[in-house]
């Protein structure tokens, strides 16, 4: 909490008493007298309502909300600067100012008065309903200072959840409060407010409206990290809306074989990014990078790491049994035109995923062969019955004993059996 805020609060809470604490401390007697007079003068003009101990005196000149709240700034500066200034005179304003003071002003009257820079008590407004009317009146008056004053009052007297809930439908007031919190450095309160605002999107069922709402959240002063997540959230939903409209149409038309063969189980709206990527790898794999629904576009837009991308694409293509695509996924060409197999996730993981999608042994063994660690390779090859790989590995290890032992696992007279025999003969 910044010093400015502490002082600010102090001011609202006890301005009446502050009046005599700032007097010259050397002279106790005069200080006492002074204060007594100050208090008495207040008694005359304020009716004897005990609850009215805290008063808001609003003397600042009207300023726009994007200004640096000069009135409260200057006040708090003055308050911290206990040097020479005395605030007693502030309380002993000309009686004229209190002449028309009444305790039963409506919220509207109160706001009007504040706009004219006159003293007003907000404490009288106790019910939530009154407070909200007060806020709405203040907003309708467009006076940033008054709006902020009312917000400070609400912030102090309302439970957080309720204040946030009400601000969700009062965007202007929300902006004022955010601005105020930033200025006073109340980071925790601010973050809570922003997140509660963002949370509201969950209650919006209509996707278009939800998207619009998320867009409005991007502008909120989140941390850079959070802003980028929320920006991504918005972009993702925007994409999903386009893809959904397009694909629903395609599916209904019944002309795309892919959609006929694999009808969509659910809409893609509001799904996580990785799920969306999977969907796109499943239905839109071959599209050019320019289209919104293409995997490469998603990868680029959301900076999806290679590893994540390969895993998702692999799972999607394996599910479609598109082994050619799987192969291409791991094939890299160097500048001489040689091809090389490379997997950012490790080939043992590739094998696992392929196996889970019940890939045929021919496909499986190709990737088992690429597993670098010999032990892992052997155990995977044995587990998934990739005989050729097992045999070749033992051959390379020159392990006769294991080869002989493995003979029992292959069918007698089969190609594998003969392969083992021929290797054994040549060893």
């Amino acid at each position: 909490m910044s010093r400015a805020r502490a002082d600010e609060e102090e001011y609202w809470h006890s301005s009446k008493f502050r009046a005599f604490t700032f007097d010259d401390e050397d002279d106790e007697l005069s200080q006492l007298k002074e204060s007594k007079r100050a208090v008495n003068s207040l008694r005359d003009i304020v009716d004897d309502d005990d609850d009215d101990l805290e008063r808001v005196s609003w003397s600042g000149e009207p300023v726009g909300r994007r200004n640096k709240l000069p009135s409260f700034q200057s006040l708090s500066d003055a308050l911290t600067d206990t040097g020479g200034k005395s605030y007693a005179p502030e309380l002993r304003r000309p009686k004229a100012e209190y002449k028309d003071y009444s305790s039963d002003w409506s919220p509207k009257d109160t706001v009007r008065r504040m706009q004219r820079g006159k003293v007003c008590s907000l404490e009288r407004f106790r019910s939530l309903q009154d407070k909200l009317v007060l806020l709405d009146e203040a907003v309708a008056g467009h006076d940033g200072n008054v709006i902020t004053a009312v917000l400070i009052f609400l912030k102090r007297t309302l439970r957080r959840e309720i204040l946030f809930r009400e601000l969700e439908v009062r965007q202007v007031a929300l902006c004022h409060l955010i601005h105020f919190l930033r200025e006073t450095g109340e980071q925790k309160f601010l973050l809570d407010l922003l997140l509660s605002q963002y949370r509201e999107h969950l209650n919006i069922q209509d996707v278009e409206k939800r998207r619009e709402f998320l867009k409005s959240c991007i502008g909120l002063p989140f941390s850079a990290e959070d802003t980028s997540h929320i920006q991504d959230h918005y972009t993702l939903l925007e994409r999903q809306i386009i893809i959904e409209a397009n694909d629903r149409h395609l599916e209904m038309a019944g002309q795309s074989e892919l959609f006929r063969k694999y009808p969509r189980k659910a809409s893609i709206l509001n799904m996580p990014l990785v799920t969306t990527l999977f969907y796109s790898c499943f239905y839109h794999y071959t599209e050019a990078e320019g289209t919104f629904s293409s995997p490469s576009n998603l990868k680029k837009t959301f900076k999806i790491p290679d590893k994540q991308y390969v895993l998702t694409a692999l799972a999607a293509r394996a599910k479609l049994r598109a082994w050619g695509d799987v192969d291409a996924l791991f094939t890299t060409k160097n500048w001489l035109g040689y091809t090389k197999k490379k997997a950012p996730i490790g080939f043992h993981r590739v094998v696992e995923i392929l196996q889970r999608n019940s890939a045929p042994v021919q496909v499986l063994q190709e990737y088992v062969r690429l597993v670098e660690d010999v032990e892992t390779r052997l155990s995977l090859a044995t587990k998934y019955k990739c005989h050729d790989v097992v045999i070749e590995t033992y051959r390379d290890l020159k392990d006769r004993i294991q080869l002989i032992a493995y003979k029992s696992k292959v069918e007698r007279g089969s190609a594998e059996d003969e392969k083992i025999n021929s290797i054994l003969n040549n060893m």
């Binding site: 963002y198 969950l202 959070d226 997540h229 996580p272 990014l273 990785v274 959301f302 590893k307 994540q308």
Partner: protein, 601 residues
């Protein structure tokens, strides 16, 4: 029905009895036949206080679940709502009352029983809806601490931790203090109070204030408890995150124990010998009550799971030997004796059969590759290995879309074991989680950060190694079969919270001042004066009794560790455990997660 409550050092039957008495008194106020409308959440905890038979004795003829709409027809004189003081429940009650047919005769009287406390807000709400006047009796039933077992009390307040740390709502602490006052009224003033953590401090303050405000509460009961130890859950965020490895802990981790009951998949419990009905497999989950009333369960529940198998097979041999004895029974006297033992033997046999089935179910999981990998990572973190970089296993789990709670448990564990993650590591995890599980989880991540479970390392200092070494939280040579240290409950990790309790008993916290300062919140000691006549003269060799109150939840493994300390021969201290809620890592994290589906009301 409640013999197991009196088996421990402190007879908790008295507490249950007090609860029953209060309930009877209320029921008798509403003369005539009655129906109870239950807030469903309350039925579990109430079941531990009173069975249906007690309600029946007091003319409760029908029971319904609270839901909107018209109340079911029931020819009773009174309708009593048993509810928590929650506004959404008040709306349902209002609906019920307004739809009541005014023309029916005889008219039914309405009453409302708030558990655990009446709330002005709720009554105001009912008043605004114009139905407050319909209720003849509006009372409260202070169901604060519910006896779960001979040495275990819980408030079953699910959201206590969340309320204290996320919402700054400390009502549950007030309830805890109230519960402790009730306990002191029954078992005497507790002379010594120790505590660690902000919430502990609040509760101690409230207790002292309540005692001052009600001077009449100075009772003349000889104190049963010597010491009260109040512990904040946030002093030890680590322990609940780790997977519990005791038998009871694993049952809770895998199937979830609720109000001492567990629901298990029925396949393993299919009746074997019965002729009819044995063919088709049961589809209803098997529901079992788990507490120390069951001899076998009391023996094995706190053991490390690896030590359970041998006990079960030993028991099997003993029981079959006992049944074999019938062949040796020759005389009428011998046969008679055998027959008289039969019921006990049969009970033992069915208990053994049940636990063998449960152990098999658990073993299927503990022997799986993923369980092993997960445990390996947890143990690496807890012993301080590689806590400062992105963990491969966690990444893999995210890539394979394992349940989010599992991921969060691991990431939080890593964060706690590293006194916060490096900003880069934290951002990486966050990004992966949001991309895979959905951006809206930003809200959950923020909650975890607020609770201190997930945070960036500040000041670049990692205190955990110092804490680990000083408190000996990691033991390399752990004996699971015949444990000599509390670390057996996590196969190597000694729960911090229990270590604090252990060190408090001997040699005292003064020896660990430095570490206590590194843990959040103040530590303190208070004394409550006893009248001279009540001061205890300890018999030689008599153990002290300490009540350990976990504010924010306790795990079964921690309870097991405290029971282990109670049973140590030269321990000198016996423990009774109280808590706001029995938790495990999953239920705990879940309580902190943002509810993403819209509220049902």
């Amino acid at each position: 029905m409640a013999a197991h409550l009196s088996s421990g050092r402190v007879n908790l039957t008295a507490l249950r009895e007090a609860g029953r008495r209060e309930l009877r008194e209320f029921l008798d106020k509403c003369a005539g036949s009655k129906a109870i409308v239950w807030d469903e959440y309350l039925t579990g905890p109430f079941g531990l206080i009173a069975q249906y038979s007690l309600l029946k004795e007091h003319e409760v003829e029908k029971m319904f679940t609270l839901k909107p709409g018209r109340l079911p027809p029931a020819d009773v004189k009174n309708i009593i709502f048993f509810v928590r003081p929650k506004l959404e429940l008040m709306d349902i009650i209002t609906d019920n009352v307004l739809r009541e047919d005014r023309g029916r005769s005889p008219q039914r009287d309405f009453h409302i029983l708030f558990v655990p406390r009446r709330s002005l807000l709720c009554e105001q709400w009912l008043k605004e809806q114009g139905v407050l006047g319909s209720f003849i009796h509006r009372e409260q039933y202070s169901l604060d601490l519910i006896p779960f077992d001979g040495d275990l009390l819980s408030m079953e307040s699910e959201s206590a931790f969340k309320e204290c740390y996320l919402e700054s709502d400390q009502t549950s602490l007030y309830h805890a203090a109230k519960g402790l006052m009730t306990l002191q009224a029954l078992y005497g003033t507790i002379p010594q109070i120790f505590g660690k953590g902000d919430c502990a401090r609040h509760v101690a303050n409230m207790m002292i204030r309540m005692k001052r405000e009600f001077p009449g509460s100075q009772n003349s009961i000889f104190p049963v408890f010597d010491t009260l130890l109040l512990l904040d859950r946030n002093v030890d965020l680590l322990t609940p995150l780790a997977t519990q490895l005791t038998y009871e802990g694993l049952i809770d981790e895998i199937y979830g124990i609720q109000n001492t009951y567990v629901k298990l998949p029925p396949e393993k419990f299919a009746p074997k010998k019965q002729g009819e009905g044995g063919k088709d497999l049961p589809t209803e989950p098997k529901k079992l009550q788990l507490n120390s009333a069951e001899e076998l369960y009391a023996e094995i529940r706190d053991k490390n799971f690896n030590a359970v198998g041998s006990v079960l097979s030993k028991k099997a041999k003993i029981i079959s030997a006992a049944f074999e004895e019938r062949h040796h029974a020759k005389t009428v006297g011998e046969i008679k004796q055998f027959v008289s033992q039969l019921p006990h033997m049969q009970a033992a046999r069915s208990s053994l059969a049940n636990h063998t089935s449960i152990a098999e179910l658990i073993k299927d999981i503990t022997t799986s590759e993923d369980f092993f990998d997960n445990l390996t990572v947890e143990q690496e973190f807890m012993s301080g290995i590689d806590t400062d970089k992105v963990n491969n296993y966690i990444e893999d789990c995210i890539a394979q879309k394992h349940p989010l709670i599992k991921i969060l448990r691991l990431v939080c564990l890593q964060s706690v074991c590293n006194s916060g993650l490096k900003q880069k590591v934290l951002d990486h995890y966050k990004r992966e989680i949001l991309q895979t599980y959905g951006y809206e989880h930003i809200l959950t991540l923020n909650n975890l950060e607020k609770a201190g479970l997930l945070k960036p390392q500040t000041g670049g200092r990692n205190n955990y190694p110092t804490i680990r070494k000083t408190l000996r939280l990691w033991m390399d040579d752990v004996n699971e079969q015949n444990p000599n240290d509390i670390s057996y409950v996590y196969s190597g990790y000694a729960p911090l919270s229990v270590r604090l309790a252990q060190l408090l008993a001997r040699p005292g916290w003064r020896s660990i001042e430095e570490v206590l300062k590194m843990l959040p919140g103040p530590h303190f000691e208070e004394r409550q004066q006893l009248p001279t006549g009540l001061q205890k003269k300890r018999q030689h060799g008599e153990n002290r009794v300490t009540l350990v109150f976990f504010l924010g939840g306790v795990t079964y493994a921690e309870i097991a560790a405290l029971r282990f300390l109670s049973q140590m021969e030269d321990g000198g201290t016996e423990y009774v455990i109280a808590t706001t809620k029995l938790i495990n890592g999953t239920t705990w994290i879940k309580s902190l997660m943002e509810k993403l589906e819209p509220a049902p009301f």
